[in-house]
């Protein structure tokens, strides 16, 4: 079913075409962001634009992290998918995931241990912490963790000699756009400290934004 991409690929010779397809498949299918030097079509800005156009046809966009690239849902597509009940995550999975994000990212970031604009973290959240805070029976918690791992939303860290094991955000968090990372940050602020001045600022900014959009419409 190549005809979808054909108008974008037709102008290129066989070699260029193969490079474009390889870059598209790599950013779509790889577990982690792929290095730019490995993929000719990611190195050249003009070719990269074609990869971006190919991704747009399937609702996706390129996401850069340093000299690596991966793909993620375009913001407007993610918003549409989020409205579709079939595409949502179960409530208990979301609850467990939020706990992992709070303990592995939000708290370490507040302590200055994580400085990058990323939701990846080396700090594991222990199963004990998840059990205590989620108040889920252990069987349900384990099922939720199994589904989240299978979806790449959490990863497991094995305990070392002097480090505790547990769960960290999974590789799917590489695939968030800058806007999605910001939305997630704001949602966590609203959830963790709804009465805090920061939460007030988030609400004010959102009111401004929706007011502006309402005015434009």
């Amino acid at each position: 079913m190549t005809e979808l991409f054909e108008p974008l690929l037709r102008p290129y010779d066989e070699k260029r075409r193969a490079e474009l397809v390889a870059a598209f498949m790599a950013v779509e299918q790889a577990a982690e962001p792929v290095p730019e030097p490995t993929f000719a079509a990611l190195r050249e800005p003009s070719q990269r634009r074609v990869v971006e156009e190919m991704l747009a046809l399937v609702g996706r966009t390129l996401i850069r992290s340093r000299d690596r690239w991966i793909s993620g849902y375009r913001d407007e597509v993610a918003a549409e998918l989020a409205r579709d009940p079939a595409c949502g995550q179960r409530e208990e999975d979301r609850a467990v995931l939020v706990l992992v994000l709070i303990h592995s990212v939000a708290i370490p970031r507040a302590e200055g241990l994580l400085t990058e604009d990323s939701w990846m973290s080396p700090v594991p959240t222990s199963v004990e912490e998840l059990r205590k805070r989620s108040q889920l029976p252990i069987g349900e918690l384990e099922s939720a963790l199994r589904r989240l791992r299978a979806a790449g939303l959490v990863g497991q860290v094995k305990a070392g000699d002097d480090t505790a094991g547990g769960f960290v955000p999974g590789p799917q968090f590489h695939r968030l756009t800058a806007a999605a990372r910001r939305r997630l940050q704001e949602e966590l602020i609203l959830a963790a400290g709804p009465d805090s001045p920061l939460a007030g600022a988030v609400r004010a900014r959102r009111r401004d934004r929706s007011g502006r959009q309402g005015g434009e419409a």
Partner: protein
């Protein structure tokens, strides 16, 4: 901002995996239809120029990992052995087999506690069903190939056929002349 319905349909298939649609519904461009003998139709992603995720190997790029991949692959091979019985044809849609038969083939493939292997094997069948590689009906005790197998390119099947020929036969066919 409204999203083009074709774009949204393709993005949705990425979220959900193979999606069942009505028999008369057309497949949006960039998606392919896999039809079961019952008439049920699934939408699958189709990649440019016939590429498959196996392309990643050429670039030493790792695909997402799964738990206990070796065991899951062996369980999948056992299910294929039972459901893809006519190796001269394409694997999809194959035929319905008993879950017990797939687990029997799996336990014959290894050396271990058979009860334990069956228990773990059932867990792997469930995981393979979650990701669209198998269709599992635990009430009826049956397993079928999942619609994802319809996307396997025909020219990539020969080594899989060789592998399956070397696996133990499913129990219900063991007595049948072949």
């Amino acid at each position: 901002m409204s999203v083009d319905p074709g774009v949204l349909a393709r993005a949705r298939v990425r979220v959900l995996g193979p999606v069942p649609i009505g028999p008369a519904d057309p497949a949006p461009a960039g998606l392919t239809r896999a039809v079961e003998p019952s008439g049920r139709v699934w939408l699958l992603p189709a990649w440019p120029d016939g590429a498959t995720p196996a392309l990643l190997e050429e670039y030493q790029t790792a695909p997402p990992s799964m738990d206990r991949p070796g065991q899951a692959r062996r369980v999948f091979a056992a299910a294929l052995r039972c459901c893809w019985t006519d190796l001269d044809t394409a694997p999809w849609p194959g035929r319905t087999a008993a879950i017990a038969a797939a687990l029997e083939v799996y336990t014959c493939m290894g050396r271990g506690d058979a009860d334990l292997m069956r228990r773990w094997g059932l867990g792997d069948l469930r995981r393979l069903a979650d990701s669209g590689w198998l269709l599992l009906d635990e009430t009826a005790g049956t397993v079928r190939l999942g619609p994802r197998t319809a996307a396997w390119p025909a020219d990539a099947l020969s080594s899989l056929r060789d592998l399956l020929r070397r696996l133990p036969q499913p129990p219900e066919q063991a007595g049948a002349a072949r």
